[in-house]
Amino acid sequence: MQKITREQLIEKASELLANGTVSCVLGWGAGEFGYDVTPTVFKTAEEMKTGFVFSDFCGANFSKYLVAKTQKTEGKILVFLKPCDTYSFNQLLTEHRFDREKVYAVGIPCEGMADISKIKAICGEGISSITAEGDTFIVTTLYDDEPIAIEASAVLAERCVNCKSKKHVAYDELMGEDGDVLDSGRFDEVARLEAMTPDERFAFWQNELSRCIRCNACRDACPACTCEKCVFDNPKSGVENKSPANSFEEKLFHIIRAFHVAGRCTDCGECSRVCPQNIPLHLLNRKFIKDINEFYGDYQAGAEVGSRAPLVNYTTADLEPGEVFNREG
Amino acid sequence: MENNQYLREEIIRMSGVNPTKCMKCGKCSGTCPAYDEMEYHPHQFVSMVDNGEIEPLLNSTSIYKCLSCFACIERCPRGVEPAKVVEAVRLIAIRRQGANRMTANDIPAMVDEDTPQQLLVSAFRKYTK
């Protein structure tokens, strides 16, 4: 389903390793199952040939890893960036989180990534292999005799269904064609919730958030959450809280987290992708983005390096907090 | 004094003009090429509409004298766009039943051999609904 192949990427990486442009490659490595991948550093072409993976399950956004990796690595790191990753990449540069000079970014096209939970919803557990054939996935499981064929479009990740942009906003080199910023319906779900009564909204979120096990996966995957020390881990912050407990921080973790990334969140959707409880966390971020767009004019974090986020900016004519609720009339 | 809020709002809505932006400098009337033809002048249109005094304007031939040359729109320092106000008042007048100012029967008397079609078309647009 992806237009670019694993082989093309390995070839590009090998070439850049060979000519000394980069000293290592930050890429997707094989995980436990075919559909789970893990960020891996490859030092040689040989390592890549054995361990590098590129498939419809390589949704992971690697921008965040550059913060730590650029500190530890001599020479440049090659990183493959899908369009949505490039926004995070720029946002981190805006925040001076890594040295641009130490990265060689190759933009790669993305046809949208698959959501394994959607596949599991169809095939159940026990998947032993998934192969892509054209626009179809062939899934074999331990429990079914016959492989199951699934339309790729039916299991596209939510964030890819509502892809905001196929355009790369940062790269040193581009493989394939660049796309455009898309007019997606990504705020439709937020708007649907907004149209509910407060009681319905409360019920919705109570149901969603009550599933949280405070595993911190959302935070750990989020490219905006790169703080040297997270407030939730810092005893001095007054909100320290590491484990699930029936206390303040526990309940408001997601609100605080969403506020901390408001204006910085590029809407990459990693939080929801990695949530083991399938909580639609991205909706919190999108609510902030939608509000900010509506209150202060359209703003896309990471669209350009050095832009000033709306929450750390103002005009004298901004709307009043009380007017927020009266806008509809 | 008359204060027709309904028509005031209607004119504001149709024209998209905010008459309160006017600072009463008179530049519109200073620049108007049809000034002498008018009973009420561009600045008065803005001020009278703002005050809800619409009937005198509706009943005046001034509404047919604006040339739509947009000089007042171009030169107004406050972006008030008086010509749009005049236009809105004219439309309200002309949309009233039987209010056409010109009919096809009037035409033969007006034309000469050089009269461009544009002239008749424009006049018709301005004088009839």
Partner: protein
């Protein structure tokens, strides 16, 4: 653990009338950290203060909570008491149980209950207080004034008179600014040169003042009391120290068709020139764009005739670095371009001029030697039309013009009209106005004189179009009072062009981290209470760079700015407010979010080396707050995503503790 003493004040019956003070002091005894709690009739009295001092000694208190009136009333008092008792003044917290409790609640029960909670909150906070010491920084006792117009001149003279050295940086070859171009000044009509040039001479002769003319500020570093400034002294190809200003070079220079900017291009000057007779410094300058010698090496006449040998074709731009304690911005204004207002035919007729051009035309030292003539044919104009508000008071989103009132035009137009009628009674003078705005001492009287005594015809209305035809200017305008359209055949039209800040102001503001409004006027620290200070500490504002101003207003603001500078330079050390932001380097991401919201430019970034647990080192960018510049608003603390930024005296943990205490 803190040892906290609680002191509940009765304030006579002011507090004790609605609050059971005994119950409050009893209740607070049980709070964590509290080792002593008492109440007294008047805590702020000498006896009350002594009670606190004694308790500090007796109970070895480290923190004090006073439950009393508003901290805005007596916080300073109790801080002094604490200091006298030997503990840090910032270890005092006040619970406001008078204004915000006993005075607004009626029954004893609710009053007492709330007072206890407020007391608890104060105790919870003081438990987390730390001793704070105001930062100190030295002050370089030298001021920089940027701009050598009347604003800069007055500021510099006042500072110098107080005994501090001042440098003026002026981008033109001479100081004097716009005022030097004016003819007479309202409302007294004394000649501008007569009152300005003596001041210019004073500047030149004042031992405390150095003039960097033909110079620009190119870099500013540092902060209040300690600015490092780089000044570019542009090459003028004349040795300033040797040139006597005799003018022999100017006379001999063969390039004499250079538009004279001092006369706004209405006549010409030479390639080597002295802008005007009273220029300070009175030295020649070579215009490199006009001089043949500099362009193609042919000529050299001026060097040959210069007896002093001051001409130096090889002179280069010089960069001077200097330290300053304070910087005054006095960059002034310019009339806006009339390019977009061609309904007034400014580009089509030489006889449509701006008011500043009119000043030059009536100035005895101007291109027509003070004789009012039509620039096109030199004839005497009989009908003169003045148009006010050209480009002022336009809609904010207008494509041409400015939103604000330029403030000075009403008065100078009245002046021009009056002087014209006075000198040339055969003229007819019309002034078209929207409103005549003349607030100011003797201003309206002045305008009325123009009308009543000098017969100037004021017409309420605006000119819509000017058509040059033949040797006339056909003015079409509205007369709103008479409700008619006027048509006047004029000989000369004078446009009162809006004024705007000098173009050099914007880049300068960036260098100074001083804020500007959307019109590029400098923003004051507080529009009413700190009108001559920029929000950036140590940067002061003088004259029209802050907003349109006439001469009297400019001079008073210039003096005020000087007073502020003197107040600063008089100090040997600057004591900061200790309640300033502080960044925890270990947690700081270096993301610059805090610097974005800081109104004072107090936050900078540096690369720091950190030792990691695995013994490697890591270089990270981290924020550093300059305590001398920070004013302690706390905007950065909320903007900071990692919580690295905190505010001393109002720390996250302290406020959180107050919240917890109240919500228990």
């Amino acid at each position: 653990m803190q040892r906290v003493g609680v002191f509940v004040c009765w304030c006579g019956s002011n507090i004790a009338g609605t609050v059971d003070v005994q119950a409050v002091s009893e209740a607070l005894k049980n709070e964590p950290g509290v080792v002593f709690s008492t109440n007294y009739q008047y805590m702020c009295s000498q006896a009350g203060q002594d009670m606190i001092k004694n308790a500090v000694k007796e109970h070895r208190l480290t923190g004090i909570v006073v439950c009393s009136c508003s901290p805005r009333m007596h916080e300073a008092t109790f801080r002094k008491t604490a200091a006298a008792a030997g503990i840090n003044p910032y270890m005092v917290e006040i619970a406001n149980i008078r204004e915000q409790c006993s005075w607004v609640h009626k029954d004893m029960l609710t009053g007492t209950e709330k007072a206890i909670i407020l007391g608890k909150a104060a105790v919870a906070k003081v438990n987390l207080n730390t001793p704070l010491i105001p930062g100190e920084s030295p002050v370089t006792k030298r001021a920089l004034v940027i701009g050598g117009g009347i604003a800069g001149i007055q500021t510099a003279l006042d500072i110098a008179d107080a005994g501090f050295p001042v440098d003026i940086v002026e981008k033109q070859p001479t100081i004097g600014g716009k005022m030097a171009q004016l003819d007479k000044t309202f409302p007294t009509l004394d000649c501008a040169a007569c009152i300005l040039t003596p001041k210019m001479v004073d500047v030149a002769q004042n031992e405390n003042i150095r003039i960097f003319s033909y110079s620009e500020v190119t870099e500013v570093k540092g902060f209040v009391g300690n600015f490092d400034v780089t000044i570019k002294k542009k090459a003028r190809f004349v040795n300033e120290d040797i040139c006597t200003g005799c003018g022999a070079c100017v006379e001999k220079c063969p390039m004499k068709k250079v538009p004279n900017e001092f006369n706004l291009g209405m006549d010409n000057r030479h390639a080597i020139y002295i802008p005007f007779a009273q220029a300070v410094p009175k030295v020649a300058t070579i215009d490199p764009n006009a001089c043949n010698m500099l362009k193609n090496g042919k000529c050299g006449l001026c060097a040959r005739v210069c007896a002093a040998g001051a001409i130096d074709y090889k002179q280069k731009d010089q960069f001077i670095e200097e330290k300053y304690g304070a910087i005054v911005v006095a960059t002034g204004f310019n009339p806006i371009s009339m390019e977009k207002f061609d309904e007034y035919a400014y580009s089509q007729s030489k006889d449509v001029i701006t008011s500043l051009e009119f000043e030059r035309l009536t100035n005895a030292a101007g291109p027509s030697a003070g004789k009012l003539i039509r620039p096109s044919d030199g004839k005497h104009p009989h009908t003169i039309v003045f148009v006010q508000c050209v480009g002022s008071r336009c809609e904010s989103c207008a494509e041409k013009g400015k939103e604000y009132c330029s403030k000075i035009c009403c008065m100078y137009t009245a002046k021009h009209a009056m002087l014209t009628r006075d000198k040339y009674p055969d003229t007819e003078v019309y002034v078209f106005y929207i409103d005549v705005r003349t607030p100011g001492k003797n201003f309206d009287e002045f305008y009325r004189r123009a009308v009543e005594e000098y017969g100037v015809k004021y017409v309420k209305g605006m000119v819509g179009k000017i058509v040059p035809e033949g040797d006339k200017l056909k003015v079409q305008a509205s007369d709103l009072i008479a409700n008619r359209q006027l048509h006047i055949d004029a000989d000369l039209v004078v446009l009162a062009a809006a004024i705007e800040p000098d173009k050099s102001a914007r880049p300068l503001a960036t260098m100074l981290t001083a804020s500007m409004d959307t019109n590029d006027f400098f923003t004051e620290a507080h529009p009413k209470l700190r009108p001559v200070e920029s929000p950036t500490a140590g940067v002061f504002l003088s004259g029209a760079c802050q907003g349109p101003k006439d001469i009297p207003e400019t001079v008073s603001q210039a003096g005020a700015a000087a007073a502020k500078v003197i107040g600063l330079l008089a100090k040997d050390k600057l004591m900061g407010n200790p309640c300033v932001a502080q960044s925890d380097e270990l947690m700081c991401n270096g993301c610059s979010t805090c610097a974005n919201v800081c109104p004072y430019g107090a936050i900078s970034y540096e690369d720091k080396e950190f030792r990691m647990p695995d013994r490697t080192t890591k270089i990270r960018r981290v924020a550093a707050v300059n305590p001398a510049v920070c004013q302690g608003c706390g905007a950065c603390t909320v903007a900071c995503p990692s919580g690295a930024m905190d505010l001393k005296g109002f720390a996250n943990s302290q406020i959180m503790a107050e919240v917890d205490a109240i919500c228990k």
